[in-house]
C-alpha cells in the first residue's frame, strides 16, 4: 500500500536530482548546460529578489534600526538593546505571546481541517456538476468580504440581543444571554470562530486545487488493491497533498500571528487582555503611544521567534517525508 500510495509526482524535484536523473539519457545536453544552470536559476529568481531588495528590505532594516533607538522630543537616541531587555521583563509581552499561541494554533487547525473537509466533499463526483460548482462559489463567500464588514456582521450575531442570543434566550428559554466577547476564554474562542469563518475558503480552494492535481490512476490502483475510503485518504490523498499542506500551514501560521484587524474590530484585546496578541500589542504600543522603538523591538523579537519556529516546524515535517524540497 505504502509504495503504491507514494506518488511519483511528489518525488523530489530539486535541480540536483533533475540533473542526476537526466544525466543518463541526455548526457551531452547536460554537460553543455552545467555552468548555465546556476545562472538560469538566478535569471528566474532575480526579478522577484530585485523587487524585494527595492521594496521590502528598507522597511525591514528600518525596523531593526528603530528597535535600537529611542526618540525623545523628536531627537533619536541610540539605546542599544535596552528595548529588548525591557521586553523580556514585560509581563504583557509574555501575556500576548501566550494569547497568540492559542489564537494561532486553534485557527490553523480549524482552517485546515475545515478546508480539507469541504474540499474533499467538493472534489467528489456529484450527480449535478452545476450544483457542485454553485456550492463551491457559495462556500468561498466569507472570504470575499472585507475584514471590517465581517467583524461587524459578527458583532451583530454576538451581541446580547443579537441573532445567536435570540436563539439562546428567546427560543431555547435560557436565562442569561451568552457573553460571547465579554468572558476571557469565550472571547478568544469567539474571535477564533470568526477568523476560521473568514479564512477557511482560501485553504479550501488551495486544497481543492491540490486534490484535482492528483492523478486518478493512483486512486484506481488503490481501489483495485482493495483499499477502503479511509485507507485511500490516508495513503494516497494525504501524501499527495503533503507539500501543499506544509506550505499552506506555514503561511497560515505566519499570517495568523501577524493578524490585527479582527481583534481590533471585535475585542480590542479585551476582556482583561485575554485576546491581546503580539501583533495587537505592537499596534497599541507603537501606534497609540508612539513607542515605535519598543514596538519595533517586539516585532523583531517576534520575527526571530517565528523564524525559528517555522524552521523547526519544517524540519520536523520534512523528516522521513518525501517533501524535503519544502524545507529550508
Amino acid at each position: 500500500m505504502r509504495e503504491k500510495g507514494t506518488p511519483p509526482a511528489a518525488s523530489s524535484a530539486t535541480g540536483e536530482e533533475v540533473t542526476a536523473g537526466k544525466g543518463i539519457e541526455s548526457g551531452s545536453v547536460r554537460a553543455r548546460r552545467v555552468p548555465w544552470r546556476m545562472m538560469n536559476g538566478y535569471f528566474f529568481v532575480g526579478p522577484a529578489i530585485l523587487f524585494f531588495l527595492f521594496v521590502s528590505v528598507f522597511p525591514l532594516l528600518r525596523t531593526l534600526q528603530m528597535s535600537l533607538v529611542d526618540v525623545e522630543a523628536g531627537v533619536p537616541k541610540f539605546v542599544g538593546i535596552r528595548h529588548y531587555t525591557d521586553l523580556v521583563q514585560d509581563p504583557w509581552f509574555w501575556n500576548s505571546l501566550r494569547n497568540v499561541l492559542v489564537f494561532t494554533i486553534s485557527s490553523v487547525i480549524l482552517h485546515i481541517s475545515i478546508g480539507m473537509g469541504l474540499a474533499l466533499l467538493l472534489n467528489e463526483e456529484w450527480f449535478n456538476t452545476t450544483l457542485r460548482n454553485f456550492m463551491r462559489g457559495l462556500l468561498i463567500l466569507p472570504w470575499v468580504f472585507s475584514t471590517a464588514s465581517s467583524g461587524l456582521m459578527w458583532t451583530l450575531l454576538y451581541h446580547p440581543f443579537g441573532l445567536l442570543n435570540y436563539m439562546w434566550v428567546g427560543l431555547l428559554n435560557q436565562e442569561a444571554p451568552i457573553e460571547f466577547l465579554a468572558k476571557p476564554g469565550l472571547a478568544m474562542a469567539s474571535v477564533v470562530a470568526v477568523n476560521t469563518w473568514k479564512s477557511y475558503p482560501f485553504y479550501m480552494i488551495i486544497i481543492l486545487g491540490g486534490l484535482q492535481a492528483i492523478p486518478a490512476e493512483i486512486y484506481e490502483a488503490a481501489k483495485v488493491d482493495g483499499a477502503n475510503a479511509w485507507k485511500r485518504f490516508w495513503h494516497v490523498t494525504l501524501p499527495q497533498l503533503r507539500p501543499i499542506l506544509i506550505a499552506i500551514s506555514t503561511i497560515d501560521i505566519i499570517t495568523t500571528v501577524g493578524h490585527v484587524d479582527l481583534i481590533r474590530m471585535l475585542t480590542r484585546g479585551g476582556p482583561l487582555r485575554s485576546t491581546e496578541t503580539v501583533a495587537y500589542y505592537i499596534y497599541k504600543t507603537a501606534l497609540l503611544d508612539g513607542n515605535l522603538g519598543y514596538g519595533a523591538a517586539v516585532s523583531t523579537l517576534m520575527l526571530i521567534m517565528l523564524a525559528i519556529l517555522i524552521i523547526i516546524y519544517l524540519r520536523v515535517l520534512s523528516q522521513g517525508g518525501d517533501a524535503g524540497e519544502t524545507s529550508f
Binding site: V45, L141, D261
Partner: protein, 284 residues
Amino acid sequence: MKRASDFRFRHGYLIHQIFIVSLTSLSAIVILTPVVWMINAAMRPIKEVLTYPPRLDPSQLTFEYMASLIENDLYRGYFVNSSIISLSTLAIVIVLGLLAAYGFSRFKMGGGRIMLLGIMALLMLPTVTLIVPYFRLAHLVGLYDTRLGLIVVNSAFILPICIWLLKGYMDAIPVDLEEAAMIDGCTRLQALQRIVVPLAVPGIVGTGTFAFIFAWNEFLLAVTLTDTPDAQPLTIGLAAFFGQFVRDWNSIMALSTITSIPLMIIFVLFQRWVVQGMTSGAVK
C-alpha cells in the same frame, strides 16, 4: 472500524450522493447565516436591524441603500481604484511569482535557501510594524498617495506567499515533461510557458485569487499611504462609514454586498479554469 466507512462507498451511488450533498448543504447553511444576516441589514432601515427580537420580514426590503451607493460618483471612483490596484497587483505577483517559484523549484542555487528564508521573513513582520517605514519610503520616492504606491506595497506583501504556494505546485509537476520539451528544442522559458504553466493552472488560479482578494480587501496600508480619493480603494470608502460612535450599518452592509458580487463572479469564472486545468493535466 475501517469497514464501516467502506460501507458507504460500496453501497449504491444514491446513498453516497445524499451523504455528500446534504453534508455540504448543511455546512453551507451554517456558514452562510451571517451573510444572509448581512444582506438583510443592507436592505432594511437600520433601526429594524437592531431590534429584538430580530426581524426577517421580507416585505419591507429596499434596494435604496445599494442604489444610492451605485449612483455615488465618489464610490464609483473608489471602485475603479480598487480594480486597478487589485488587477495590477495580481499581474505583478503572478509574473514575478511564477518565475521565482520555477527558479526555486527547478534549480539548485548558491544562497537559494537563504533567499527563500529571507523572503519568508519579510512576511513575518506584521503590517503594523511596517506602516511607519513604508510611509517614509513612499514619501521618499514620491509614491505617497498614488495607486502605484499601493500596488507596489501590496505586491511586496503578497509575493512571498505566492512564491511559496506556486513552488509547492511546481514541485508536484514531474520534470520529465519539460526536459523532454527542451530536448525537442524549447528554451527554459518556453518550457515554463508551454508545459509547466498549463499544468499549474489550478495552483495559479488559487494563488491568483488569493492575491486579488488580499489586494481588494487591504486596508491598513491604504489608509496610511493615501490621503485623497484619487488614489483610495473601496476599503477606505467603507471605513468612512465607521464613525467614533455611529456606524452607518445600511451603507456598510450595502457596500459590502455590492463589492463582494464582482469577486464572486470572478471566482466562478476562474473556477472553470480550475476544472479545465485538471483535465488538461490528466490528458498529458
